[in-house]
């Protein structure tokens, strides 16, 4: 494949990782917890989208919107049922609970949708030709979504009252409470966004990877790798890190026998954690924005 084609597919892959990585970032920033079920939320989003499509909903935007709303609500429930009650027993208890949640999501969806991955009709058909390079509308939409989400989050955090409240609640929950910020609402918002963005990623990626199946854990590790590559503490960092990971992974896949990049990426994660735990863009002490 041409190197530019690989760049296109790499950026698309990286964009999906970015949506997963943003979820890691939001939850970690707010609670200090790393959510092992992050990748499994993506699968749930894809399957929810599939059900809507099968119900006859054909307007793409409506499907996306409904899935995001469902994700936001699931995120709030997730915090209330899984994280809050376990975090009282320590961060490690909450971490173990998210591991339990991977089982619930990864096997629970088999009960509803069946164990096999299912084809998902392309959300956006066609593409544009730029000389020898072909960019599908699907890819372009995914890129646009990531740019919009990234800019939107940056604006939300930086400008709005809610965003400042989130930053404050994440930095010092007690002090935030003291100045009248509703910390539990800010938490709920973080978890809602983390689930909502993952669900959105699920619908966007399902036409490429199929809906369902057991890719949750791999997505968790890859999304996390992207996040720590850029710097788990920085919004900009996790997006750029995830994009970089997607691009590198696509290029590597073209070079490696069988295209099996997974072992390389997984070992890379260990090395990144050891050698540059602050990531490429997280060297300075960063705020949420």
């Amino acid at each position: 494949m041409h190197i530019l084609d690989l760049l296109v597919s790499g950026l698309t892959l990286g964009s999906i990782y970015a949506l997963v990585a943003l979820g890691f970032h939001l939850v970690f920033k707010m609670t200090g917890i790393i959510d092992f079920a992050q990748g499994d939320k993506v699968v749930i989003g894809g399957l929810l989208g599939l059900t809507l499509v099968q119900q006859g909903l054909s307007t793409v935007m409506v499907v996306l919107l409904l899935v995001v709303v469902a994700g936001l609500l699931l995120g709030i429930a997730y915090d209330a049922i899984v994280i809050l009650p376990t975090q009282r027993n320590g961060a490690l208890a909450a971490m173990a609970a998210t591991v339990g949640m991977t089982l619930v999501l990864a096997h629970g969806h088999h009960l509803v949708w069946g164990p096999d991955p299912k084809p998902f009709p392309p959300v956006f058909e066609g593409g544009i030709e730029l000389g020898p390079l072909r960019v599908s509308y699907q890819s372009m939409v995914i890129w646009a979504v990531v740019v919009a989400v990234g800019v939107g989050l940056a604006l939300l955090m930086g400008r709005s009252r809610t965003g400042r409240g989130m930053v404050a609640a994440a930095t010092d929950p007690l002090a935030a409470t003291a100045v009248g910020i509703n910390v539990s609402r800010m938490r709920a918002l973080s978890f809602a966004l983390a689930f909502g963005l993952a669900a959105l990623a699920g619908v966007l990626v399902a036409p490429i990877t199929l809906a369902g199946g057991s890719i949750g854990t791999a997505l968790t590790i890859k999304g996390f790798t992207g996040a720590v590559l850029g710097g788990l503490n920085s919004t900009k960092g996790v997006v750029l890190g995830a994009l970089l990971l997607g691009v590198v992974e696509s290029q590597l896949a073209a070079v490696l026998p069988n295209g099996n990049v997974d072992p390389v990426v997984f070992i890379a994660l260990v090395i990144i954690l050891l050698l540059m735990p602050n990531g490429l863009f997280g060297l300075r002490r960063q705020r949420l924005a």
Binding site: L92, V99, G100, G108, L111, N260, P263, F266, V270
Partner: protein, 334 residues
Amino acid sequence: MPDKAFAVRAGRHLAPTLIAAVILIGFVFTDPGPSGLALGVNIAVAAIASVGLTLAIGGAGQFSLGQAGFMAIGGYGTAYLMLAHEVQFLWALLAAVLLALVIGALVGYIALRLHGNYLAMATLAVSSGIYALLVLPGELGGANGYAPIPFPEIFGHKFIDPVDQYLLVAVTLILVLLVSNWLLASRGGKELAAIRDDEVAARAVGVNITARKVQIFALSAVIGAVAGGVNGPLQTAIDPSLYSPAVSIQMFVMVILGGLGNIYGAVLGAALVTWLIAAVPGNGSWALTILGMVVIAFMALLPDGLSGLPKLARSLLGRLRGRTTEGSITGGSK
């Protein structure tokens, strides 16, 4: 979570191991039939691996989500040497276990520098990486699996009969329990307890923290490899799905349900999880979904796992008698 939740309760007395041995051996006399014995093998194998994992989690507070990776090294290593090089079972097992020792020590060094969440993610990545390598087409058969592995043979005795096969695994489990028990009561085990209590003070009295932590992690990997290596030849065919990251997560769940550091709890957890997956219809989907919920409920209500039940019972009894109970059920605060 308080350190005590992760404390390995080293039994000075061997009564629990004795009881476990009686139950494990006694199972044969209940006329379990081939399917019962096969389940017994699966339970005992899972129990061996999760006892090993318990040593890392409870012994050194190292949250590993990678035990299936070490089982894979044991399983594939033993099988490969037996099938491709016609090595005797015990020697093949020994070689595979030594490989796991080396890799375990390496990951153990990594584990020194990563804590909690990060270590869990890193070990999950290692386990996923080993799985991804095994899926590759090649000499080990890729996703199609590796077969036919000869039955294990020890001193001329071939383990073909299901009862023999079950006994092989059961006796291995009993040996692993004895060794773990002895180890936790030994000087090294006590030093690990000191590290859990207060790492700085342990350093100050001269405990070699690096050595102790790497040792226990490597031992945990070795026991995982023993589980995989004993089981592989009994199955005559193995494939990567036996050692997927999902299996690593199941191992973690067994240890959590058993109480994060109690080796007998880990055996109970392994039995419960393995039995539920086999017994509940739905190819494990129902069982694992429910188990996931149980884990969350445990972490919310009973972070000490099954081994916290006596404490819970005591506290409830105390409440019934109208006394104020000391501390919370969990004994944990943030």
